[in-house]
Amino acid sequence: MLLIPCPWCGACNENEFICGGESDRKRPTDPAAVDDKTWTDYLYNSTNHKGMTGEWWWHVHGCGKWFTIRRDTVTHCIESAPGDQT
């Protein structure tokens, strides 16, 4: 049961949040300008990194904010990543 460090509410149990996936997955600024191969990669593929990786989390039952943390997908050790807070 992860303890997610929400920037506003503090550390709360994982079932108060929804995991929003990899934070290094950037939507192309102008999708119309990208070729199908790039768009297909953005749409379906994942880095799916084994180790420390950036993730979006949404504190849906708390402050309602989306924020990113850096979590090790093997040990589940979490470092909250400043900067991408909203």
Partner: protein, 415 residues
């Protein structure tokens, strides 16, 4: 390969079982193979077996970084079924069921394929509609999947005792008679023994650390036991698909998610069917031949390579189980663990060539164990002939660029 039988058992009993041969050799890896399979689980070992048996390729090696069957093959809930929604899925999973049923005889190794039947409860009109859609699609492909009433449910499951004020009352069920349970470790060992007997080198404690390419084509793999040259590499590494594919510069449409399972202490036989309480967190349970109630649910809600799960998943599924089987309240949880699923975007298996000639991928998806023989059969075909087997023609990576997904669930929900 000395054949197993009751007589072989009796013969060896006379000599105190000292003369049994090795199940498989532990050879030193050769420097060069016609094909190398990365991953010594059911899929990898099965692929090697079928390469040798169907395609005459015996100069093949299986590299397993740990011990045979130590990945998801040793961590699943032993269920084999073919109730799926899409026309591309049903024939493929039916083939798996067919192969399983003959596999003990073919491998001369008892996989304990037990045809228990699977009962999925109907608890809402939405579930009823999807069950009908599945039943009809499967009917077209000759797979039986029929609706049954509560009386037949009670007859088949005597311990069925739903609480009177269930939040989602059970109004009936849909039943697949052919769904079976298979002893999971035996699948890996049976294929390993069969492949080894046909000349395949099975190398444990041999981790692939790199894939070497020359002008785009595969030339070999780097391992902790040196460089091995090969023109063809087949990847079947459940849970580490992204990690190994990245060695060949390839990104895959998968996310690694934990799938937990757990067992009760062993009790006398009380449950024959495989039961699915779909509307209560997708909980499913069955009783193994050893007497343990085996239980599982959906994936943990975030990516992880930790091979251990989060406890609320077990709490929710236990609450669900006790709503239908309250007599299990005083049974005890004996052991729980987690496998790692390479969950594809659309939830269906990926058996495919890639942009790198000579590099093929078999990503099992959510139901790796149930597809083991069919995936191995078709993956061997693909590796040997460099063109997909008809049954797996629509399960390639090209389905993502063409938008022809085989939508059986997967991560698409939260994108």
């Amino acid at each position: 390969m000395k054949r197993f039988s009751f007589f072989a058992l009796a013969r060896n009993a006379l000599t105190g079982h000292r003369n049994w041969a090795q199940m498989w050799r532990s050879p030193e890896p050769r420097r060069e193979y016609d094909a190398v399979i990365i991953g010594g689980g059911g899929h990898g070992l099965g692929t090697a077996y079928y390469l040798a048996r169907n395609h005459g390729m015996s100069n093949v090696a299986v590299f397993e970084k740990g011990w045979l069957g130590g990945g998801n093959t040793g961590r699943n809930t032993m269920t084999v079924r073919s109730n799926f929604l899409r026309e591309e899925s049903v024939p493929f999973h039916e083939k798996s069921l067919d192969l399983y049923q003959g596999l003990s005889r073919e491998l001369n190794f008892n996989l304990m394929v037990s045809e228990r039947g699977m009962i999925t409860f109907i608890q809402s009109s939405a579930v009823n509609r999807i069950a009908l859609q599945m039943a009809n699609t499967m009917h077209i492909y000759g797979a039986e999947y029929r609706m049954i009433g509560l009386d037949e449910v009670r007859r088949r499951i005597p311990i069925f005792d739903p609480s009177p004020d269930m939040r989602l009352p059970i109004t009936g069920a849909v039943y697949q008679p052919r769904a079976s349970m298979v002893r999971h470790d035996a699948v890996a060992w049976g294929f390993a023994r069969g492949a080894d007997a046909r000349g395949v080198d099975i190398i444990q404690n041999c981790e692939v650390t790199g894939i070497r390419r020359d002008g785009g084509r595969i030339t070999g793999v780097e391992t902790n036991r040196g460089f091995i040259a090969t023109p063809r590499v087949g990847m079947a590494v459940a849970g580490h698909g992204s990690v190994v594919a990245a060695m060949a510069g390839i990104r895959l449409p998968i996310v690694t998610q934990p799938l937990q399972a757990w067992v009760s202490e062993p009790i006398k036989p009380i449950l024959d069917e495989i039961v699915v309480i779909r509307s209560y967190y997708g909980t499913y349970l069955m009783q193994s031949d050893k007497g343990e109630i085996v239980i599982g649910q959906g994936c943990d809600p975030y990516p992880s390579y930790a091979q251990r799960g989060t406890f609320p998943i077990i709490e929710d599924a236990t609450t669900a189980m006790l709503e239908v089987f309250p007599r299990f309240r005083r049974l005890r949880l004996l052991r729980h663990w987690a496998g790692m699923l390479d969950m594809p975007y659309d939830g269906s298996p990926i058996i495919s060539r890639t942009d790198v000639p000579g590099f093929y991928v078999d990503v099992a998806g959510s139901g790796g164990f149930k597809t083991t023989p069919a995936a191995a059969y078709t993956f061997a075909h693909l590796i040997a002939r460099d063109e997909p087997h008809p049954l797996a023609a629509r399960l390639g990576l090209d389905r993502f660029s063409s938008g022809r997904l085989v939508q059986e669930g997967g991560v698409s929900a939260n994108r």
